[in-house]
Symmetry: D2
Subunit: 342 residues, 4 copies
């Protein structure tokens, strides 16, 4: 932490900063220039993080040094983590395809999507039984019956199931069915929910908030990890910008930075980022080429009847083609496609 003093700050004001730091056990170093001084603190930021140093007279700004995340940080945990979801693994040694319906609508539709996912080479089935929707008048998901349908799809295809949970009090019963829990973009700073999925011990796919910085995203992961659950998969899904022609702006550089800053695997969701079917395929290829640990793709056998996000869903045939394309490209890039394990 570096406390930048105002031009003309008095020795007493500098001394007050030093005192506040020493009070919590820090060792301040004052460096003085012609115009201004700074008080530098090197060490465990945690103790200083919440010190209201900027309220002291003579202080201009307080700049943090070091990272606020610890358990998920790569800095002190160099080896990348692989996360096991049922019989599948997500990690840096392979590239995984996660696919399935955006929302579970009917047993027939869900099974068709699950079979399309399986046929395209997916190792994990995604599908939503609880859907957070901007409008209260939109389809909100089937709830518990949707979970049962997902369990049937797992039975039929052998794919482990990843599904969203939107409320702390739902975690227990969703975790009873699902192989992995998903935290959606709008809940990425719902800390009560994060702590609860942390306590569940289940693998968690944590979407980046559409307006979260990378640091905030990692701090959300830290909430899960602090409960003793390091089975976290990060998922970049686009951020909100001023551009109206795409739903969100996919931040592939952010995905790479998250891989560098953290030891957790990072996958990409091009379907929700772009919101447009024609962009899903090129963005999925780009994610692989940029080094993502997997992609997550919506599929629907009849998008024109989808109750949720139809415009972005691939048809089963498109998904099959994309799966083959990704498998070939992964091989060309020297990275094998993830396969189901037993």
């Amino acid at each position: 932490m570096v406390v930048v003093m105002k031009v003309g700050a008095t020795p007493q004001e500098i001394e007050a900063v030093e005192q506040m730091v020493r009070k919590v056990g820090g060792a301040p170093h004052v460096v003085s220039g012609v115009l201004r001084s700074i008080v530098a603190l090197v060490g465990d930021d945690e103790r200083f993080l919440d010190l209201p140093l900027s309220t002291l007279p003579g202080v201009e700004t307080v700049q943090r040094i070091g990272k606020p995340y610890k358990l998920v940080a790569r800095e002190l945990h160099q080896a990348p983590t692989s996360v096991r979801v049922g019989n599948a693994t997500i990690g840096r040694e392979s590239f995984a395809l996660i696919a399935g319906p955006c929302a579970v609508e009917t047993p027939r539709q869900a099974l068709a999507a699950a079979e399309a996912a399986k046929a395209a080479g997916a190792t994990i089935l995604r599908g939503g039984a609880y859907k957070p929707r901007t409008s209260p008048y939109s389809f909100q998901g089937l709830g518990k019956p949707g979970l049962e349908i997902l369990a049937d799809c797992r039975e039929a295809t052998g794919l482990p199931v990843m599904t969203e949970v939107i409320e702390a009090r739902d975690v227990e019963h969703v975790a009873a069915v699902a192989d992995a829990l998903q935290i959606g973009t709008r809940n990425s700073q719902n800390y009560a929910l994060l702590s609860e999925v942390g306590r569940s011990g289940k693998p968690v796919l944590l979407k980046r908030g559409f307006s979260s910085t990378i640091e905030e995203w990692l701090m959300s992961a830290e909430y899960i990890a602090r409960e003793g659950n390091a089975n976290i998969i990060l998922c970049e899904r686009g951020i909100r910008t001023f551009e109206p022609m795409t739903r969100n702006t996919l931040d592939l550089a952010g995905m790479i930075v998250a891989q560098n800053e953290s030891h957790l695997p990072v996958v990409v969701d091009p379907s929700h980022a772009a919101g447009r079917r024609d962009l899903v395929e090129p963005l999925a290829r780009a994610a692989l080429a940029a080094g993502a640990d997997g992609v997550m793709i919506d599929v629907h056998d009849n998008p024109s009847e989808a109750l949720c996000d139809g415009p972005q869903a691939l048809l089963p045939d498109d998904l099959a083609r994309l799966g083959a394309e990704l498998a070939k490209l992964a091989q060309d890039l020297g990275r094998p496609m993830a396969l189901p394990e037993s």
Copy 2:
């Protein structure tokens, strides 16, 4: 809703759009130009909102007409709503000061802040017992004991209590103590929580998500209203932009638009928007001059020891001066300051 067809869309493609619309009872009107055609639908958007029209071949874009919010919309409910919180009222006929500590830390600190609020002319006491914090290592609020301290402050000052709730399963016991519930910016799209506070029947102050459009903000209010609870106060508290010198960018135009689009009262929180004490006072004046229905201000008798957001808290004396200034300015602008009622 207007479905814009691609240049060169075929009559069959236009017909398919018309059919999808008719199937749900809509009356499509085709308007054709030299280069392209559109299919216009005027009427109840609700039925059409989730139609995946953009998945049909030949469709370029689908543009919504009309507003997705209904219960909170001014369009069909011209008279502004006033919301009663304990013995206070928030609405367009007066300008209200809501003040108190950002977080309840100790009985002494909370009471000092509550008395400062009262002395400055506030009619509602704010104060957080549950604090959603970016870092799991930061102070998370006192929880239930914090609620008791707030109840004591109400006893001592006569001010009704507004406090944040961060989880659906907390609503019941928080509502048992509080006069009004607050939904924070990070939970503004936590729809499970919104529905729950809706069902509680308690007045709700709904902060705008720091990355929510005005429309999304009003849709969040719609979630509360749909449960039969129209006692909603909207609160503009700054949006996330690229500017790093302030924490967020206070959107006063957004506050005005929210007043025009909705019949609900809209207040402004300059403390959290700016994150800097020196900006609180001028932004509070600006909010009043722009027509806000109130402001919400943090106060702390010793910001240098605050456990949360010290840099933005006013001192009791500053708050007293601001309260007097706002009362005078409100009068000058022909709008009385809200007073406690009996």
Copy 3:
């Protein structure tokens, strides 16, 4: 400047940073903690600003301390600057109204707008002869004949003329007519143009780029000041955000910060920020209440026939009412309205 070393950086890597700094005459201070070290440099940042310190091995980040702007900075020039435009003054001792047509269209329209400005209490006439438009098919301004019309309006009303210049090679002939030059938002980082208006010696109103940080805005002012021209008026006119219901988001906190960071006067343009007539009046009041040094308002006697930005122009009667309202509010706030001087 603080160079933050990576965890595990070697003594040699730290030494290399020190050497690069010493080479340009800096005095580095190393502060070492348990996990990492930093190299602090306090002093004239200018010499260090372009040092590619972050390219050295072992360096994690380089954080600047101190401000990159000098001539326009308040830090070393505490007294606020007043800028004289013809017989008018813009500065912190009064609140000025600048008004006129967005674009000069015809002699009649321009004169009607100028007279409306005068009648409403404006002390400076704004009006564009050169208009930078997003579309090449939109009206681009009258050019030189527009300047002549503006000179006629000055003759008729006695108001000094402020007009936009969009190209370095136009500066000379525009400056021959205008009392003050305006740099528009899209040219706010057109450094060739900034230097040229600096050399002209004329007062310059510098709009904030719609995506410029406050720091970049002040650095653009620095380009003008470096040519020996400190007659600069800053103008906040809204920044680009994700919100679609208003054209841009007026950043009043940014206006205040610019006043604190710089000794230059700062005015606000609510017309272009909001792009909607109904927001102009409340935002102008808010700008005054927040402490702006003036506002700039579009007026048109027949907005439905305006060739540019009709939707945001006030009618002459509306402007008169707003002018009276601002004069009263200024007085209530203890700040006189600027008057023409002789």
Copy 4:
């Protein structure tokens, strides 16, 4: 264009809209629903684009249909355009590498970079003689002597030269030396400059403004095309967002949309987007995988002594490795690498 009337708009108000449209030769169609009416206009938007319809009473919003760009639009010009720069071609049939120094600093440094570009397989040499810099105290480029150095580099390597022009009055002498002109991100809405490079007839690489929407970017291209110059290469280089860990956010989806909306080739500049060397390589691969028509990369043989953007420059060896990698990946993707032609 669709004019959405307010709920309760009168027949007279609707009639006034129809009249304004008919006056410029449009054919309005009124579609009325239970709550509101719309007036639809299908046809040439150009005539209606500047009609101030939203100023009329009873009008709620005006929504555009159709695209404001014409000459650069794919809609009416399906075949993709290839642009010839000296003996090189940029277009959809191959993938091009453009490389060179960010800024020309010395003859030695520029030649080393040019040779590194050539060795890595680049077909076009980039290099700046005029540098727009945020600070007036930063290196501003060598100017004319820099152009001569670039000409010498062309002589030595055979690579055609692409260089930035920052002012309309420089176009003539820069065009006398350069094979292609570059418009930088800060000048992307400098319409005087765009028109001037249009008139020069030279190929132009047009960077997206860091805060331009795709539509604004294409409108800037339209300014060039309207002067009869369709030799335009679009360049995506990142947009400004709230994320501080990267300089800008590379918008690969925006690149794809630009390719779909326009017939012009679109390349990607990962160096300036990310501002960090470690991101250049994966983002360049991602750009290729997403279908970009080329990438533009900074190279410097001693980044620690670079006068401009050292942190993002690749070393010659890194560039050679990246060039080989891109060539292999291009082949794997069925798209050949662009080669110099004679």
